[in-house]
Symmetry: C2
Subunit: 195 residues, 2 copies
């Protein structure tokens, strides 16, 4: 008897960075689970402990918290081939301040922290994969801090929209405003200038 394993986008992604044997692929696929999410579904709600990491295979998710002024503050988006989770809660086991929610109908590949630790033993190449992915994430975060500190909010908007033109179409403007750190009203003002 032959078993068919659907080629998972996750292992494809990993293979871009490290070698995986067919057996490795099976071990990984057995450790993860695929979730299909309707728009607005929550993968993590505030005050819950975050137990899993999510790899976006389709769609778009957001990570946000409620700030003191009771507004949603988005700190991260994740589209295809990006990981998203609250690492802080995941590592510490403490309740999260964050929510993770599907912005579009999406599909994620999820893995619990526990399973991931087992995978690091079973498939040691994953240490390298996650080191590289983590480095990229850190570099992106550093660059973001650099932009925050060196551009006005208006400059940040034009910069972002030139870097990721397609993204503007995918998320509501008020979410992008939140991610960029300003109000939807201000965003309207900006857009009204240069049509």
């Amino acid at each position: 008897m032959q078993t068919f394993t659907m080629p998972l986008p996750l292992t494809d992604h990993i293979k871009k960075f490290v070698d995986l044997s067919a057996a490795d692929v099976d071990v990984i696929n057995a450790a993860v689970s695929v979730k299909t999410l309707k728009k607005k579904t929550f993968l993590l709600e505030p005050d819950h402990v975050c137990k899993e990491l999510y790899f976006v295979s389709k769609g778009c998710l957001r990570l946000y918290f409620i700030n003191k002024k009771l507004n949603e503050q988005i700190t991260q988006f994740a589209i295809e081939n990006w990981w998203i989770t609250d690492h802080d809660s995941l590592e510490s086991g403490k309740p999260s301040k964050y929510a993770i929610q599907a912005v579009e109908n999406s599909e994620v590949i999820s893995i619990t922290k526990t399973k991931l630790e087992e995978l690091f033993i079973a498939v040691p190449q994953l240490e390298r994969y996650f080191r590289i992915v983590q480095l990229r994430a850190f570099t992106a975060a550093q660059k973001r801090i650099e932009f925050i500190y060196s551009m006005t909010e208006e400059e940040r908007y034009w910069h972002f929209s030139s870097l990721f033109p397609g993204f503007l179409q995918r998320v509501p403007q008020y979410m992008l405003a939140s991610y960029l750190g300003f109000t939807p009203q201000f965003m309207s003002k900006i857009r009204a200038k240069k049509t």
Copy 2:
């Protein structure tokens, strides 16, 4: 004949996260070099390609760039047991916008990217070590973005000074102001309030 190897703080740090044999320690120590830096010494100057990573064993370094208003914008400090480098330039091989400079008389353990890649082959546990260290760095960067977006500049100052009281004594106030994203003048104003 017996050779004495000075116990390097770097391998001590690595051992907190992964196991190293005596041989591993030797291999690592052979790959790195120790640099003693007088205050204000540069490890990286703008427009140069960054070739090395630095582990601070003593003292304090800063990473900064010159923004459009021609002010120094500090994006990172590194004290004992932290790594500092311009990952972006290091990975891409492109000239850096950043400077890395000693804020105090310091000692760093440096390793070139090339040597580090060799080390990953020779001592595979380092993949795990750097994965973990990288994750911590990313989590810290994420938290910083969270603070930037959820506190006023004044709140950020008080928050920072309560989190790292000792640090206030170590760096000039204008550098902390830069790191926190505001002007030295504003910092004076804040401090004048609550004395």
